[in-house]
């Protein structure tokens, strides 16, 4: 199953709604980069509200896709990280440094527009 990527003005919007298996995560990585290329998007919001855990593999895929998008000139904002996910990620030893984050989708979009406006 593929994760849908929506275009909203100059941004791409991704909401991950189900538990990620490895294949879906890797497919998403590729799909997102193609979509950035296709649409010329300058920002991406990835919403993780429905995700209730992130292991080191998914964290690596997420971190990589953020760096890859950056190489292509798109800023990525992660939103909706649940308390349990934040706790387990840090205990696992993964800090996802230098990643733009916001509490929810609404704040994330606002913050991203500010970042892009500068």
């Amino acid at each position: 199953m593929r994760i849908p990527i929506l275009k909203l003005y100059n941004c791409l919007l991704v909401s991950i709604q189900w538990e990620l298996d490895d294949q879906t995560a890797l497919q998403f990585q590729e799909d997102l980069l193609h979509k950035i290329h296709e649409t010329n998007a300058s920002g991406v919001v990835i919403d993780l509200t429905s995700i209730d855990f992130i292991d080191s593999f998914i964290a690596k895929v997420l971190g990589d896709v953020i760096s890859m998008s950056k190489l292509m000139g798109a800023k990525v904002m992660i939103t909706g990280i649940q308390p349990a996910v934040a706790i387990t990620l840090i205990e696992l030893g993964i800090s996802l440094n230098d990643v733009y984050t916001a509490l929810d989708l609404e704040k994330g979009l606002e913050k991203l527009q500010q970042e892009l406006g500068e």
Binding site: D52, D55, G93
Partner: protein, 133 residues
């Protein structure tokens, strides 16, 4: 051992099956959402290690009780190549597979008890438990 359920790990889909089983058992035992996430994450790391390094193995989830305290134990067993240097494998950031190297040290931090037994050429067994506080 009527309180034990196991998932055979042979494909990456089995990793998903193992953590779903783990989450369900964690709920049954009565863990809160944060502990459920810790347990699910730990199972995912252990199952993925089996898939990547050993090719196949088994992850079992057991309901346990000690001194009136309820808990859950993950037992991950494989007959893979074994871990040459356990101390190194337990170091943050060490990986031989291009991963983040967070797996084993992470599992140890996520769970309350952690035991690892590995011998070269015959496999690895990891037991990790979490107790209801």
């Amino acid at each position: 051992m009527e309180n034990q359920s196991c998932v055979l790990i042979q494909t990456e889909w089995d990793i998903v099956a193992a953590r779903q089983l783990g989450r369900n058992v964690a709920k049954e035992v009565g863990f809160g959402t944060v502990d459920q996430a810790r347990i699910t994450t730990a199972i995912s790391e252990l199952a993925r290690n089996i898939y990547i390094y050993a090719g196949e193995g088994q992850v079992c989830i057991e309901k346990i009780i000690k001194n009136g305290q309820a808990g859950l134990r993950i037992v991950a067993v494989d007959k893979g190549p074994g871990i040459p240097d356990i101390r190194l494998a337990m170091e943050d950031g060490y990986s031989t597979s291009g991963g983040l190297g967070a797996g084993l040290p992470g599992v140890k931090r996520l769970m309350d008890d952690f035991e690892i037994d590995s011998s070269l050429g015959s496999g690895t067994e990891i037991k990790a438990s979490k107790w209801i506080r």
